[in-house]
């Protein structure tokens, strides 16, 4: 599996994954209280295409069908996809940076930092006056501060120890979660809004959120992709990386900022959803090897598929009630975390 000899293969599998993602999107748009066929969903989506839409679609679906798919389900499905991609992608970056399979925005407390930032922006009216971009900025600020705080705490005697890093992350995670709970108690009238931050949910998805998340997250992932080779080299250890021409401190800071940004944007639109960033990159690494040029883009697509399916389960399993999607991902992720914890530290 020498990377340069398999580029074409990796590309083919990637296209297959993108097609699967599209099918999953169609499928998720078609199921729910009002059951439609996947063909209906496809028709409605195609119809919305500018210029060619009307030529492609002869049979006009009913207005209710259109509004269910286009106004309710599509934004929700797409938002779950973008957030899943962001969490898995940033998880892959964190795991590579910290050389630890348990690193992830949720475990490191970064998600909680972003959520606290988001909750504060909501309480102080930043979200209302500046709009969702304000929430996003505050979430990013919270994530960034948490990342550097955890990183500094984990830095025992100049070198970053992975164990102390994870412990610091967990401690900070508890602290920030407690802070969010406090905010909830002092702002009872907004309790429901704040709860959304602690238990991730896509039930308030809008096209506005999709646009914000898609643009910022994709831009972040695109920039990070150009550091994939550097991440590979960082896996050799910092000293080796330096000898291979990497400006280690600078590259680490850039990558931490980028992955915090991506994770924060995901939290800003959906709240804290754990374990996606843990399971997906790890599974991809087992299947495709450790090269980040493959690992990161693959994690993004598989993360999107995973979270769309998880959210579809969340809204259909006990319909008309809804299970918070974080519960579904935690049910799948927590045992996986324990398995990693128990496994002898081998390859990440």
């Amino acid at each position: 599996m020498i990377y340069i000899h398999r580029r074409r293969h990796y590309r083919k599998v990637y296209v297959a994954l993108l097609i699967s993602l599209f099918i999953v999107i169609l499928f998720s748009c078609s199921i729910g209280a009002a059951n439609l066929t996947m063909a209906d969903a496809l028709r409605i989506i195609l119809q919305k295409l500018p210029l060619i839409g009307e030529i492609l679609v002869q049979e006009i679906p009913t207005d209710t069908m259109v509004s269910i798919v286009w106004k309710i389900r599509m934004p929700r499905v797409l938002l779950a996809g973008v957030v899943g991609a962001a969490l898995a992608f940033s998880g892959g970056v964190y795991q590579g940076l910290f050389k630890n399979p348990m690193a992830e925005s949720f475990v490191l407390g970064v998600s909680a930092g972003a959520a606290l930032g988001g909750a504060i922006s909501m309480i102080f009216g930043v979200s209302r006056t500046v709009g969702i971009g304000g929430t996003g900025s505050m979430a990013f600020l919270g994530a960034l501060l948490t990342t550097f705080l955890v990183y500094q705490l984990g830095k025992a005697g100049g070198r970053v120890s992975m164990t102390s890093l994870l412990l610091a992350g967990m401690a900070i995670n508890f602290m920030l979660s407690a802070a969010i709970s406090l905010l909830m108690i002092f702002n009872r009238q907004r309790m429901d809004n704040i709860i959304m931050w602690t238990m991730g949910s896509f039930s308030n998805s809008t096209w506005e959120k999709v646009a914000l998340a898609a643009v910022t997250i994709m831009a972040g992932m695109l920039v990070t992709r150009f550091f994939a080779r550097d991440l590979n080299i960082l896996l050799m250890g910092e000293e080796e990386a330096k000898y291979l021409g990497i400006d280690v401190e600078r590259t680490k800071k850039i990558l931490l900022a980028l992955s915090s940004f991506i994770a924060a944007m995901a939290v800003a639109v959906s709240g804290i959803i754990g374990f996606v960033g843990l399971i997906i990159p790890h599974a991809i690494r087992l299947l495709m090897g450790p090269d980040h040029r493959v690992l990161l883009p693959y994690s993004a697509v598989v993360g999107a598929i995973f979270l769309i399916i998880a959210d579809t389960l969340a809204r259909t399993l006990v319909s008309p009630m809804e299970i918070p999607v974080g519960i579904i991902t935690a049910l799948a992720g927590a045992p996986f975390f324990l398995y990693l914890l128990g496994k002898k530290r081998r390859t990440i």
Partner: protein, 273 residues
């Protein structure tokens, strides 16, 4: 590579001091290493051999004095520019990730690949050439986690060689290897050094290997240079007794004529030599 043609020393160390807390690890090290030389750094454990290499490589920053390569302060290079000038084979590199041998060797081309680019045909050809030279081509698509110590060491050396640098630093490249692999690797490095005219600075434990392969030896003791020169002048019975505290018998190697060191066991003292 205009720097390759510059006059002056390949590496010059001027009054280097380095310490941890109050403990002085290196004291007033002064060295001038010519281009195209093969230099061994020897000395007992804790004498500062690896620390010296790491000060040259800028992993450690000197607390006093400077290190120049081709007449320029090493600290003035960016990491990337420095990776065009020197490659470093560190001790006990262990990679826990399932990269293939070729993926690892290709990383040596990284200083030449622009951020928005990827490996060119030239990078791949160079890598292939070096992998044949180092006998690593046969297991190019095996995961490095499955390689033996000798195979892994050849991969790490291959990675340093594809960096195509005028200076090679190596920290005990042959410890923990079987005798056949030791000779194989030393021959490989020596052959490459002669052919390409690069400067090799190598920390070695084995004094006999050092005597056979190095043009110059630097003997460190307690963070100071005890002596420095040709193997014949450094590896004397008196020096070794002073530094290592054992008696040795030194004879000419019957095959190569270089000094050969035979440690004298205290159990043998009744036997005539």
């Amino acid at each position: 590579m205009s720097i390759k043609n510059n006059p002056g020393f390949s590496i010059e160390v001027k009054g280097l001091n380095w310490r941890i807390g109050d403990a002085e690890i290196l004291k007033d090290i002064r060295l001038q290493l010519d281009k195209n030389s093969f230099v061994g750094i020897i000395g007992p454990n804790g004498s500062g051999k690896t620390t010296l290499l790491r000060n040259i490589s800028t992993w450690y920053k000197p607390h006093g004095g400077t290190v120049l390569i081709h007449g320029r302060d090493v600290l003035s290079f960016t990491s990337r520019a420095l990776a065009h000038e020197m490659a470093f084979v560190t001790q006990n590199a262990n990679i826990e990730f399932e990269f293939t041998a070729m993926d690892i060797v290709l990383m040596g081309r990284s200083p030449y690949i622009p951020r928005f680019g990827s490996e060119t045909k030239e990078d791949i050809e160079k890598t292939e050439e070096v992998m044949w030279l180092t006998n690593t081509w046969e297991f190019r698509d095996r995961s490095v986690t499955t390689l033996s110590a000798g195979e892994m060491q050849r991969v790490m050396i291959a990675r340093a060689l594809v960096q195509d640098t005028p200076i090679l630093l190596m920290d005990e490249p042959i410890s923990n290897l079987d005798i056949n692999h030791q000779i194989q690797i030393m021959d490989l490095i020596k052959g490459y050094q002669r052919k390409r005219g690069v400067t090799v600075v190598m920390v070695l434990h084995d004094l006999n290997i050092a005597a056979q392969y190095c043009q110059e030896l630097v003997l460190l003791d307690g963070g100071r240079i005890f002596c420095w020169g040709e193997p014949e002048s450094v590896l004397t019975a008196d020096n070794i007794r002073a530094i290592y505290g054992i008696d040795v018998h030194i004879m000419d190697n019957p095959l190569s004529g270089y000094p050969m060191i035979i440690p004298i066991s205290t159990l043998w003292d009744h036997r005539p030599l």
